[in-house]
């Protein structure tokens, strides 16, 4: 009977049984095998060969149904057990959950910040087929946003790989007169096909489409944010007409919530979008250009193919229009890549920094769990003794980690949500496509991060446990608790934590240092006390003298305002980001820009006169051939000689005599010093200028006075609201401030978590060695010796961590170069400070348990022995 089928059947059934958890198999496996053998025999006796397959099928189905249930049941019991254990040690659980929550939460926030730019597809139809076309200077390999119109036409009509091509222009300001003077709204215009090509519809209403350029009033769409902010999401916006000084538009729809203008940076982001054909008369104008065309490639056309065909076509355009430079090409690049090309490095730096925080948290969790596993050796030993397999114990550890990870993940959502909200409030304009809050993707990311990190930090304790002889722990508890295994496994982890913490904190220190330098740099003027008066599109006077007389009258009335200490004017504000077109020399030599100013401009802006004197009103009246030079211009033109009294060299006729030298002016925080030459304004050649006032008291009163003065002189004038230059300059460093905020977040979190790690390790080490300390004390060691013993132990991972962190930071900080100002990524002073802070924090963390060691009472501990 037992001849042929029974052993084979048993073997197969044995394999089938492997689907059950080991415990279940241990309890019932043999019985099941026996029962099944009986069933088979009976089936053969009664039904012959035909009955057997039916029995197999039924049995297999039963196993397949039951085995997952048994696994689920096990898991549920493991989870219940884990929760019970974790609730029994609330201190450990709290530290672990918080560590994880901060580690993961930081990543959740950074993920939400970067997701739209780096990972999530753009909100367009088939975004992979969209490309951004840049102009390329072949000689310098530099890319530019402005593409020649003739090249655009060439691509549009002849490129076989391009299905459709469109463009959106830089935004402009449309104005209307509101209750409080001039108001303006940023407006963008795209080619008529732009939304159709992108595949963008309307949130409500309809999308703009070709043909809209001929409709009156001009159809326009409003962005979702503008709709919410300005119209409170009122659906009646569709169909409304809005009258501006520049024209009347009718809102035909609201753009989708996740719409983005397909242009680099935020230059195109108007609150209104309308369509406008490219001026047809420019189609063959070799001087005309437009900004960053976007194209949709035909299906199956690769970017490489599109690129090489484009190069060919541009060469043809260059031959066709000999006035254009032959050294040009275009660069065809994936739209998502090109849009965020400039933000990419910093975004990856942020993602890396956040990942660093999580790694530290995981290392810390590993240390905590190792320490805990060591404490629990006895409990685990007992479980092994009553028959739990090693696999079972390791599995239990993993489940515990997963439970911790899940708790950490839930709290991380909270931390991440709050962090993201904090970040969104400070986010610079070029961080785009941000979600309104934590979205499903971020929650999914958090779940995955929790899962991955739980597995990551569970591996080490599991390994350290299975390597040891667990059963020995019942025999001699003290022996195992004194094991060096903890130090062997825990110290490298803590060293890794310290190293990562060092790298992150170095990033913090460098960016903070850089921000401080940027913010405290000597600008050469006093931005807090300069009020510029902006005049919309400027007064329209036909002649230079009329223009001059207007501005002179304005300047005089501003000077008479109460609370004005000084007032003056300059043609181009040095902090505006623009430089004068006019230079001292037409060619060759390093050029020096020429600014035109009124007398008392320097006093108004707070620029000290170093030598000589300011222009006088008589200089202006008499068109005197005088000039003032900046310090660096003086050194450039007459190195080592006094400049006052020298004749100014230059290509433009009246030879000017230098009457003064003023301090250098920087173009803003993190800006450069331009060598400058100043000429007095001239009534005969006057174009325009900005009037500045220096208030002695409340700048708001002076600002209001300046507005009314201008409006009184010319009621048709569009007048801005003067605000101190310092406010404007502060906005220019918002990006630096934001990035510094993030790096500070990473660095401080990293430092805290690493410090907790050092503390946890040493506290455990001391706890496990209480007896030894007692013996040492009984043998005559004093408290100081014991303290230094503990600190020496702690210094091992600390020194190793700081050492490798130093090397790591040296290598990695190069990536920070682009965000640093006035400081090298390897600034020795900063590094010394970081080393000092980490050593201090580490020793402080170790000192607490060290003091406990020194307080050990030898009598008590020996009695416990």
């Amino acid at each position: 009977m037992s001849g042929d089928p029974a052993p084979k059947g048993d073997r197969w059934f044995g394999w089938l049984l492997r689907l059950f958890p080991r415990e279940f198999r241990g309890d019932f496996g043999e019985q099941m095998a026996d029962d099944f053998r009986d069933q088979r025999e009976e089936a053969r006796r009664h039904g012959g060969r035909l009955a057997s397959p039916g029995l197999w099928m039924r049995t297999m189905a039963g196993v397949l149904r039951q085995a997952p249930r048994e696994h689920g049941d096990m898991l549920r019991r493991d989870i219940q057990y884990a929760i019970r254990l974790l609730r029994r040690s609330p201190g450990f659980t709290a530290v672990a959950v918080l560590t994880l929550a901060f580690g993961i939460g930081t990543n959740t926030a950074i993920f939400s910040l970067a997701d739209g730019m780096l990972f999530r597809p753009l909100p367009f139809r088939d975004p992979d087929r969209l490309v951004l076309i840049h102009a390329l200077d072949v000689k310098t390999s530099q890319v530019y946003s402005r593409v020649l119109r003739v090249d655009f036409e060439q691509l549009r009509t002849h490129h076989t790989g391009i299905g459709d091509i469109a463009a959106i222009g830089n935004r402009t300001s449309w104005t209307w007169t509101g209750s409080d003077g001039l108001e303006s709204i940023p407006v963008s215009a795209g080619t008529p096909n732009v939304l159709e090509m992108l595949g963008v519809g309307a949130y409500i209403g309809r999308a703009l489409r070709p043909g809209d350029e001929h409709v009156q009033p001009t159809p326009a769409m409003i962005t979702y944010t503008a709709w919410r902010r300005r119209f409170g999401e009122d659906p009646a916006i569709v169909g409304r007409t809005l009258a501006f000084d520049q024209g009347t538009v009718q809102i035909v729809g609201v753009l989708p919530q996740r719409f983005i203008y397909p242009m680099q940076g935020s230059l195109a982001s108007g609150e209104l979008l309308m369509v406008e054909p490219l001026p047809p008369e420019d189609a063959s104008n070799p001087r005309a250009g437009l900004f960053t065309p976007i194209a949709r490639l035909k299906p199956g056309v690769s970017i490489e193919n599109a690129q090489s065909e484009a190069e060919l076509l541009i060469r043809r355009a260059a031959q066709q229009f000999p006035e254009t430079t032959p050294d040009r090409a275009v660069r065809v690049a994936n739209l998502q890549f090109a849009l965020f090309e400039l933000s990419r490095p910093i975004l990856f730096l942020l993602v890396g920094g956040a990942a660093g925080v999580l790694l530290i948290a995981c290392a810390n969790m590993g240390t905590l769990l190792i320490a805990r596993a060591a404490v629990r050796e006895r409990e685990i030993g007992i479980r092994v003794a009553i028959g739990a397999g090693r696999g079972r114990i390791v599995r239990q550890l993993f489940v515990e980690s997963l439970v911790l990870g899940a708790c950490g993940g839930v709290v991380a959502l909270l931390v991440g949500g709050l962090t993201f909200r904090l970040l969104s409030a400070h986010v610079p304009a070029h961080y785009r496509l941000l979600p309104a809050g934590l979205e499903a993707r971020a929650i999914g990311f958090t779940a995955i991060a929790s899962l991955v990190s739980s597995v990551l930090f569970a591996v080490l304790p599991a390994m350290s446990l299975s390597r040891r002889d667990v059963t020995a722990s019942i025999r001699d508890r003290r022996h195992l608790r004194r094991t060096g295994g903890l130090m062997k496994a825990g110290a490298p982890l803590v060293a890794a934590e310290v190293a990562l913490g060092f790298i992150l904190f170095a990033g913090t220190a460098l960016t903070v240092n850089s921000l401080i330098r940027m913010r405290t740099v000597d600008l050469g003027f006093e931005p807090a006390r300069v009020l510029p008066l902006g005049l919309g599109s400027g007064p329209r006077y036909p002649t230079a003298t009329a223009r001059y007389d207007f501005y002179d009258a304005l300047l005089q009335s501003v000077r008479q305002l109460p609370g004005v200490e000084a007032a003056g004017g300059i043609d181009i504000l040095p902090w505006s980001g623009a430089r004068p077109m006019r230079g001292l020399f037409k060619s060759n030599r390093p050029d020096i820009g020429v600014w035109t100013i009124t007398p008392r401009y320097f006093a108004t802006a707070g620029i000290p006169i170093l030598q000589g004197q300011d222009f006088s009103d008589a200089d202006v009246r008499q068109n005197a051939a005088v000039a003032i030079v900046s310090d660096s211009a003086a050194r450039l033109l007459w190195p080592g000689e006094p400049a006052v009294g020298k004749m100014l060299p230059g290509d433009t006729p009246p030879q000017r005599r230098v009457v003064g030298v003023v301090k250098d002016v920087r173009s803003g925080y993190g800006g450069v010093v331009d060598a400058a030459v100043y000429w007095p304004v001239s009534r005969e050649t006057f174009r325009a200028m900005t009037v500045l006032a220096r208030p002695s008291g409340d700048p708001r009163a002076v600002a209001a006075g300046m507005r009314t003065a201008a409006q009184r002189l010319d009621p048709t004038l569009q007048v801005g609201r003067p605000a101190p230059v310092a406010l404007m300059l502060d906005r220019t460093i918002s990006t630096a401030r934001f990035e510094t905020l993030l790096f500070t977040l990473f660095g401080v979190l990293g430092l805290i978590v690493a410090t907790i790690g050092v503390y946890g390790l040493m506290a455990f080490w001391v706890g496990a060695r209480t007896q030894e300390m007692g013996v040492r004390m009984a043998l005559g060691a004093d408290a100081a010796r014991l303290k230094s013993l503990v600190l020496r132990q702690a210094s091992l991972p600390l020194v190793a961590g700081i050492g490798s962190g130093l090397i790591g930071a040296f290598i990695l900080s190069r990536n920070l170069q682009s965000v640093l100002y006035g400081i090298t990524p390897r600034d020795p002073f900063t590094y010394a400070a970081v080393v000092a802070i980490l050593v201090g924090a580490g020793l402080a963390a170790a000192y607490v348990p060290a003091r406990r060691a020194a307080r050990v009472d030898p009598v008590v501990t020996l009695r416990a022995e």
Binding site: F20, F24, D27, F28, E30, Q31, M32, D34, D35, F36, D38, Q39, E42, R58, T59, A61, G62, V63, L64, R65, Q66, A67, R69, E70
Partner: protein, 117 residues
């Protein structure tokens, strides 16, 4: 044995397979194969438990203390199971619940229509 403080009615209703196992043990202890066979014979082949399903049920019944290993009937490899007092009360309660259901159906004269016969 002190009476179990649990109320057997809390466990109701039982799944049919589970009730069959209790039913099969109600007239004496049996080992796994015997349970499967008894159920199969009693139902005329209508209910055939696979070993996997059976031992899933056995495990749960052991955990809840409705059945226990029999001290005398078990061999080294093969254990026999018997109802505990509580297990018997659960089985009885389930039987009573089913009886009540059937009585209710009777009152409504809910019988298969004879037309088909």
């Amino acid at each position: 044995m002190p009476s179990d403080p649990r109320d057997p009615n809390d466990a109701l209703p039982l799944t049919p397979a589970l009730f069959h196992v209790l039913l099969s043990l109600s007239d004496g202890e049996k080992h796994g194969y015997a349970i499967i066979k008894e159920i199969e014979e009693r139902t005329g082949g209508g209910v055939r438990l696979s070993t996997g399903t059976l031992y899933g049920i056995v495990k749960r019944l052991l955990q809840d203390g409705w059945i226990r290993d029999s001290a005398f009937g078990s061999t080294e490899r093969r254990r026999a199971y018997r109802l505990t007092a509580f297990g018997r009360r659960v089985a009885e309660a389930e039987a009573e619940r089913l009886r009540a259901l059937v009585r209710a159906a009777d009152r409504k004269a809910l019988y298969p229509s004879p037309a088909k016969g």
